[in-house]
């Protein structure tokens, strides 16, 4: 039977992979997907703590996290499409319109 430490270490590893992708990639779609990977690490953390302390609140927080992820994906992807229509690129180092 895996204990709570296993789930916590797994969630931290997933969170760090997502954070690394968020900081190191240049494609805006991959950056949004990295945010989803970070949220999945948080989902594992909340569900595991809720299971091992026998409290139902963590599952409800997971429910809210999934709803927030849906809203965030909708807004972020519409912004990506908007940036592509205006500037014809989705790479974050080529968006240099605000440079003086």
């Amino acid at each position: 039977m895996p204990t709570l430490e296993y789930y916590i270490i797994l969630s931290i590893i997933l969170f760090l992979i997502g954070l690394f992708g968020f900081l190191s990639r240049r494609n805006l779609i991959v950056i949004l997907i990295s945010i989803e990977i970070m949220l999945n690490g948080l989902i594992i953390l909340f569900a595991a703590i809720s299971y091992f302390t026998k409290d139902i609140s963590g599952y409800i927080i997971v429910f809210f996290i999934i709803a927030m992820a849906a809203a965030e994906a909708a807004i972020g992807l519409s912004l990506v499409v908007l940036i592509y229509k205006r500037l014809r690129t989705v790479y974050s180092d080529e968006i240099t319109n605000f440079k003086g």
Partner: protein, 174 residues
Amino acid sequence: MNWDLIIFYYLAIVMIFSSVFAVFSRHPVYTVLLVLVMIIHQAFLLLTLGAEFLTVVQIIVYAGAILVLFLFVVYLINLRKETKRSVFIRTISLIGIVFLLLGGLLIKNLLILLSLKPSFKAYLPFTIEEKSNVWWIANYLFKNYLLQFEIIGVVLLVAILGAVFLIRKVKTVE
């Protein structure tokens, strides 16, 4: 031979490797499909945590709605393959070292925090008791967390209106 541990190790290894390859792959379609693999495995991990309602919600919402949305945007935008840049490699290795230190620190702190409270043990899942998991979640959600549930509804409505507004404005400008 413990089947719970074997299943956990299988799910964890597949999730970690698919997310690593998703972050490092050069083409966004591969990224989206590898994250789809990770999310389905995570749904089964939630099933081992006794949350069958969240398993179904995860598969429907994440795999069925969010990743399909990502995939449609990837198809909508014709992308060229991302090129490597030599300037970027140095910063990536620097970020990697910092992240290893940060992850070690986080894991060490959380394990110290757990060792202070040795009462965390595996209990029976909610499904074995007389009420099901869905019953408990509905009971708590509509009694204790009703205001937060309404706020989430408003947030989703604002997200839909914002997405439609952002896309429509470009059409009228062009």
